[in-house]
Amino acid sequence: MNEQQDILERARQAGQPFKTPEGYFDGLEDRLMARIAAEAQPETSRKVRIWAVLKPALTLAAMFALIFGMGYGVLSLTRTLGRGEVSTDVAGYATAEEEMIRPASLIDYYQSNLAEETELDEETIVNYLATELSFSDLAEIYAQSY
């Protein structure tokens, strides 16, 4: 056994250096049983308390969910019916718009719309343009068309 081992051996042989408060071990069983009983009791009452607190909140939440569900159902139904009408309108509007845009020139306009609506023949139109418009106006219209 060398000198360093002696240090550890001497420390061990010096005995127990720790102390406890007087009577600490005497009532340990009773203290433990009291703690176990105390920890077991609130657990049951805590469960009851939690349910008592949660019950009205859960009822309220369920009612809100029901009302929301019903409202959502009614709204979705209404929206679905309305959306059909709107879509038809939009389609009609788009068609009309396309019709308005389609004529690319004055001649086209006359040919597609005006001519169809008034049922004028080509000769009448030419005569009208020749008499009512000046040469420069006709040239300008022609230039804009191409």
């Binding site: 360093q4 081992q5 240090i7 550890l8 001497r10 420390a11 061990r12 010096a14 127990q16 250096p17 720790f18 102390k19 406890t20 408060p21 600490y24 071990f25 340990l28 069983e29 203290r31 433990l32 049983m33 703690r35 176990i36 920890e39």
Partner: protein, 179 residues
């Protein structure tokens, strides 16, 4: 009351009587084991009570393939290690501070050599400290320590050897610095 008597009593339905017998048989041994790990009396009291509460809660699941003695030491050691790791996560080692305060501790009346010993042990990593204490103070066979710490005997022997050397060296340093 022997371990066998405690378990028979428990299985016969006398739970509280069996538990009281168990506490009575093991309270002092487990207290000193925990005390050497955490040093402070109040912390030891908390850990010891937590140990026995866990024993009460899980005694019906004790299968008996391990000895009651090693099972109890395992719970007590785990409780101490949990306490020490909680201290470390809070920043710093309170066990080291507690070891420094031993000279003014009301519940410690050891001499300078013993203070040096506990100060050196406090520097060990928690699990190595458990190995050292079980072997050095309790002279527990490696086979039992292996059951308590669920580690191989070979690893334990190496761990104890390193711990022993470190403690010796730290004690010597402290004593040399003092004189």
């Amino acid at each position: 009351m022997t371990d066998q008597e405690i378990l028979q009593l428990y299985r016969s339905g006398e739970r509280e009587k069996a538990f009281r017998g168990l506490v009575s048989s093991y309270k002092e041994r487990l207290y000193w084991h925990i005390r050497r790990m955490v040093l402070d009396h109040d912390d030891t009291d908390d850990c010891l009570q937590n140990t026995f509460v866990k024993v009460w809660q899980s005694l019906d699941r004790f299968r008996g393939d391990a000895q009651l003695y090693t099972w109890l030491y395992r719970i007590a050691t785990n409780e101490s290690l949990t306490f020490l790791s909680r201290q470390q996560t809070r920043g710093g080692s309170l066990t080291l501070e507690a070891a420094d305060r031993l000279s003014t501790d009301t519940w410690f009346d050891g001499d300078q050599l013993q203070r040096s010993l506990y100060k050196a042990i406090a520097k060990l990593p928690p699990k190595q400290k458990a190995v050292f204490n079980l072997r050095y103070f309790e002279e527990m066979p490696y086979e039992k320590i292996a059951q308590v710490l669920e580690t191989s005997e070979g690893a334990l022997k190496a761990s104890y050897h390193h711990a022993y050397e470190k403690v010796k060296s730290w004690m010597k340093e402290e004593i040399d610095a003092r004189y």
